[in-house]
């Protein structure tokens, strides 16, 4: 890593630590009680103290998020391939996908909780929000194949299958990965929202349920501790998917190339 890259990585970390220090200082100077605003040190202490409760909940939420993301990826790619086969299919099915996308998941979650078990409802919510960005991005990628390359494949009488494997799927990879990056973050939000709805009715065991539960007990430091874990999970999911995307695209796609070269 070059000096400038270190600087790039350290500046946001420095600002973050500075913010935490300011937060800590304000809480201590003003003697703000922990049930109003806990200091970062109190949140960290709570995180350690309650780890036997919070970490299993984190595992539940992350498990659902990843299951939903995998299911959404498989479903969205399959549907995008189907839609790319025919304009009619696209016209017939796309409005349904859009309706699902624009309807707030918080409004769907209570309904799903009536029809499904809480675990399944959480999974379906996370699936629904992750599905659309992957679908629309993959469909866009499949439709944006270079015309010159299409001519080359036509010239050599490529079959539909050969065009799909050697041309359309690799061409759509950058957009697909952008969709998965967005979908990964949204799957976590979907899971949390559904857990909140489920938690409000006294069911569930995920992180959001711990927030609801701690809220009832006015255990604000534990709420913050759970929130910190959710944020860290979101960052980890995004980071992992961004790294995967970089790994797959760095050799050839402009979006993943190092601009300092």
């Amino acid at each position: 890593m070059t000096a400038s890259k270190w600087r790039e990585a350290l500046i946001p970390l420095f600002v973050f630590l500075l913010t935490l220090a300011a937060w800590e200082a304000i809480v201590r100077i003003k003697s703000i009680p922990p049930y109003i605003l806990p200091a970062p040190s109190a949140i960290a202490a709570k995180l350690m103290e309650d780890r036997s409760v919070l970490l299993p909940s984190l595992a539940v939420t992350l498990g659902v998020t990843l299951e939903a993301l995998v299911a959404a990826t498989i479903g969205a790619v399959a549907l995008a391939l189907l839609l790319s086969q025919s304009k009619w299919l696209e016209r017939a099915l796309m409005p349904f996908a859009i309706v699902l996308q624009v309807t707030p998941i918080i409004a769907i979650a209570p309904l799903l909780l009536i029809y499904l078990t809480p675990q399944t409802a959480v999974l379906v919510c996370a699936f629904l929000v992750a599905f659309f960005p992957i679908l629309s991005n993959t469909a866009l990628g499949l439709a944006s194949v270079d015309h010159g390359l299409q001519d080359v494949f036509d010239l050599y009488h490529a079959t539909g299958w050969q065009k799909l494997i050697y041309l359309r799927l690799p061409s759509a990879l950058p957009q697909f990965l952008a969709g998965v990056r967005t979908g990964g973050g949204l799957a976590l939000i979907g899971a949390i929202v559904a857990e909140l709805a489920a938690g409000a009715s006294g069911q569930g065991s995920g992180l959001a349920f711990r927030i609801v539960e701690a809220g009832f007990r006015l255990d604000v430091p534990r709420m913050f501790a759970a929130l910190a874990l959710i944020s860290l999970s979101g960052i980890a999911i995004y980071g992992a998917l961004a790294w995967l995307s970089h790994l797959l695209l760095r050799n050839w796609h402009e979006s993943a190339r190092d601009r300092s070269i």
Binding site: D146, G148, L149, D151, V152, F153, D154, L155, Y156, H157, A158, Q162, Y166, L167, P170, L173, N251, W252, H253, R257
Partner: protein, 259 residues
């Protein structure tokens, strides 16, 4: 070498696109076996459309295209104005593509791919990705892909138009050397008078008036095409004649626009 046998015959060929744009109309052309035929003309005269029609990438809306042997039609190489390489695939895989699409395994196609890479001087770059190549090398890779199937007919649509002059001259020389080795029939589209005079055994100057030919210049196939050829009076004569014809075609284009 004889150029008598018409390998491809375009008879009263017309192409009107779906949006109503008439690209070409009532166009006649014979391409003879073994010749390097250049279609020279101003932008929009339909020369690229003629090439696409011959390649089978578009169908004529009127007239017909007759091949002397259907077998030859199957073995075409085309080089487009852009290199049109797969950015995610290595130079080897890009050149291997036509053979892969024909069902050849990587191992069995290896010698043919390496031969094509050798012919264009890219043997040392088989594992490179397109982004690692210069503009001229990318075009060489596209030419190697067209050569991979050892085609009888090579169609080239302004392949060197986007390159700098030094690179273009070098690739012109390399193309002439390749032609000596391959003895293929080449149909070359360009708007460069010098390129057409240097490479061709025959130049057809197309008019903006659809289907009309301004001039047809036959060039002695026995002429030595080396770098010195560019400085000979014969070359200057061919250029002068092609220039005048192109000017006439361009003037027509202006007249066309004024109406």
């Amino acid at each position: 070498m004889t150029y008598d046998e018409p390998l491809i015959s375009l008879q009263q060929v017309g192409k009107t696109y779906d949006n109503g744009h008439v690209a070409i109309e009532g166009f006649d052309l014979n391409v003879r076996s073994g010749e390097t035929l250049t279609l020279l003309g101003p932008s929009g005269c339909g020369k690229s459309t003629v090439l696409r029609l011959i390649a089978g990438l578009a169908s004529p809306t009127s007239g017909r295209i007759v091949w002397s042997s259907p077998e030859r039609r199957k073995n075409l190489g085309v080089v487009f104005q852009e290199p049109t390489l797969m950015p995610w695939a290595s130079v080897f895989d890009n050149v291997y593509l036509p053979l892969r699409l024909a069902g050849a395994s990587r191992d069995s196609a290896g010698p043919q791919v390496r031969q094509a890479l050798r012919q264009v001087g890219l043997s040392d770059f088989a594992d490179a990705l397109p982004r690692e190549l210069s503009g001229g090398m990318k075009m060489r890779c596209a030419i190697a892909r067209a050569l991979a199937t050892v085609p009888n007919v090579i169609l080239m649509d302004e392949p060197f138009a986007a390159l700098d002059e030094v690179t273009r001259f070098r690739l012109n020389d390399e193309l002439l050397e390749l032609q000596l080795e391959l003895k293929a029939t080449i149909v070359f589209v360009t708007h460069s008078v010098f390129e057409s005079a240097y490479l061709s055994s025959r130049i057809v100057v197309m008019s903006r008036r659809k289907g009309e030919k301004i001039d047809e210049i036959a060039i002695d196939p026995g002429l030595q095409r080396t770098a010195d050829f560019r400085h000979t009076p014969t070359f200057a004569d061919i250029c002068r004649r092609a220039s005048l014809a192109l000017r006439e075609a361009t003037d027509q284009q202006i007249g066309y626009a004024e109406i």
